[in-house]
Symmetry: C2
Subunit: 337 residues, 2 copies
DNA sequence: AGGTACAGTGCAAACGTTTTCACTGACAAA
DNA sequence: TTTGTCAGTGAAAACGTTTGCACTGTACCT
């Protein structure tokens, strides 16, 4: 019933040696006689001795723990990122302290405070939607704790970043549609204040101009969810100058378009091609299965963690800022030719 | 550049008082003069003093941290569970140390060791598929660390558990199919060594007998994934004594059945009803959308965390074992009448 | 004046480690 | 014998806190 964690002291007392000796034996220090060392190690093993990480961290002033703050966990992209981070953390011997902001500024701020208090040796985060000022992150920097932002980065703080190559992904997808014979390609995107939106739109536009297709403003819609996509796509499909392809900023929107297209009995992909962005679960579950731009959350997570670990290892060095851009991959399924 | 975490000592030195005074001031102790107290608090605030949680945990011998081990993170159910756990952890003031077993026994074992070393005050876990013996969990119990198992529980260890009510969920779903006019209901399930499989099958069988429908062995198949479901369902649908409904042990299998049914041009739900189990992303993305038994991962996570916190708070008390069964909810969509 | 009460404060131990320094004894070299 | 070397070990400080105890001084009561 005792909170019986056996300590180095207990071993010392039991074996009638000093704590220093026990410590050295357990760390396999070279300046210790074979006999004593073995005796201590044996005793420790038998009694399931476990070093107290708290005491250790305190002594060494580094905790081998990394803090992660995500806006949400039930979310295909973020859970993938988390999974990728765990891959690297495990390999590199770091533990992970998890926080979730729910896109609330206040919670994010509180999480950062907790992380500093917890003496984490690094932080990975994707900022909350609500967040517009960044003193709390600056505090991390002031405390000399390395930070890597991923996906939703913080532009105001000089920091390491890992982002998706939205531009190239959109460019490749649009080019693929063009190459498979589409020339009137509609584009459904989010409001342009979001960075990803701008970049994906840029890729779309550049692909058109690269292939000598002029931009038709009527083909570009601000519309980024399932429900809105249905009426918007329906109207476009019924116009006489209808598009022959749709490219959507995310999979949900693409599914809305798919729904509308099927409803009007257009043949997919013979008459209408559709391409999404993300490659979440939905892309495979839909019928026909959705062609989409795959963004590997796991790669983002892995890269972010790798970058962070590198920063931690070379903490004394020049504070060089490194960014990493994760490639996307076009995943061709049944909604394109 | 210094690892400049300001400490209680620094404050004491700067203000020319003792560390005890500072400590008391920061903890708003009643036996301290107003003036000094305010002065200290003000100084601490200005210099962004943050208590060192490591030192605190060591002193108090409790870390306010809870360890969580999940088999996987990119997984609708487990990420939901995690989200639910965070809800409660946040509310109750606990931090979460996250581990992932990848269904490997070895990793699970290692995670447990880390958790003990980290002095967590409780552990939540769903055991790895590989795991068949439980010494590592027993060690937690021996160390007097409360454990709550969720979903994949550990039968050999007397412990608190949170599970899904598979039996009732399957019973309700089957009854719904019967009430909407189906009498030849096929059942696709996992191998019967899994607990959930047994329970869901039990619910199915009891629903039939409750409504006076005799069991047809040919309608029960061991088949629990998308790819296998397609040929199996196809064959059943082509037999002369075909089923008029399918109930599958998970959503993926149900989608395979859906695929086969559509391919053979049966009308859904007029001719064939289909029901899944889980209510993941896929259920909404499919066309038609899938009727399924919803199991709330978030509720599981919340309940598990609540149970654990209760255990931690009443650690001295009688070690009463509490189990919690999470209700499922039938979510009727388009694949049933 | 003598005593009590108490507010305000500091000292030091403790939590479990690591690590520097110093000590002991044995043995070899002079 | 004296000196030096070295292997083996222990004492103690330190990491940042909290807290029981002891000390000071002032104010109040007889």
């Amino acid at each position: 019933m005792s909170n019986s964690q056996i300590t180095i002291k207990d071993i010392a007392k039991a074996l009638n040696v000093s704590v220093s000796t026990v410590s050295r034996a357990l760390n396999d220090s070279p300046d210790l006689s074979g006999a004593t060392k073995l005796q201590v190690q044996e005793y420790a093993r038998q009694h399931h001795y476990k070093p107290n990480l708290l005491a250790l961290s305190m002594k060494k002033r580094e905790s081998k723990t990394i803090g992660v703050i995500v806006p949400q966990i039930i979310h295909h992209f973020f859970s993938s990122v988390l999974e990728g981070m765990m891959d690297v953390a495990e390999r590199e011997g770091f533990n992970v302290l998890l926080f979730r902001s729910r896109d609330s500024f206040e919670k994010e701020q509180h999480s950062v405070q907790q992380l500093i208090s917890s003496q984490v040796c690094g932080v990975l985060t994707s900022i909350a939607k609500e967040t517009t000022h960044y003193e709390h992150f600056q505090e991390l920097v002031d405390h000399n704790i390395p930070v890597v932002f991923f996906d939703r980065i913080c532009v105001d703080i000089p920091s390491n970043r890992v982002v998706i190559d939205d531009y190239a992904g959109a460019l490749a997808a649009t080019e693929y549609l063009i190459k498979t014979g589409c020339h009137r390609i509609a584009f459904f995107c989010s409001p342009l204040n979001l960075e990803i939106s701008k970049n994906r739109r840029g890729g779309y536009l550049d692909a058109l101009s690269k292939h000598g297709i002029s931009v038709d403003k009527d083909l570009i819609k601000i519309c980024d969810n399932y429900d809105e996509a249905i009426p918007v796509a329906t109207e476009m499909l019924q116009s006489e100058n209808r598009p022959d392809a749709f490219f959507a900023v995310n999979d949900e929107t693409a599914l809305g378009i798919l729904h509308a297209t099927k409803h009007l009995h257009f043949k997919i992909p013979e008459e209408i091609s559709i391409c999404g962005f993300t490659d979440g679960f939905a892309a495979i579950a839909s019928d026909p299965q959705l062609t989409t731009v795959g963004q590997s959350g796991q790669d983002v997570g892995r890269s972010a963690m790798e970058l962070l670990v590198e920063k931690i290892r070379h903490k004394g060095d020049q504070p060089l800022i490194k960014n990493k851009i994760i490639k996307t991959k076009l995943i061709v399924r049944e909604t394109t030719r």
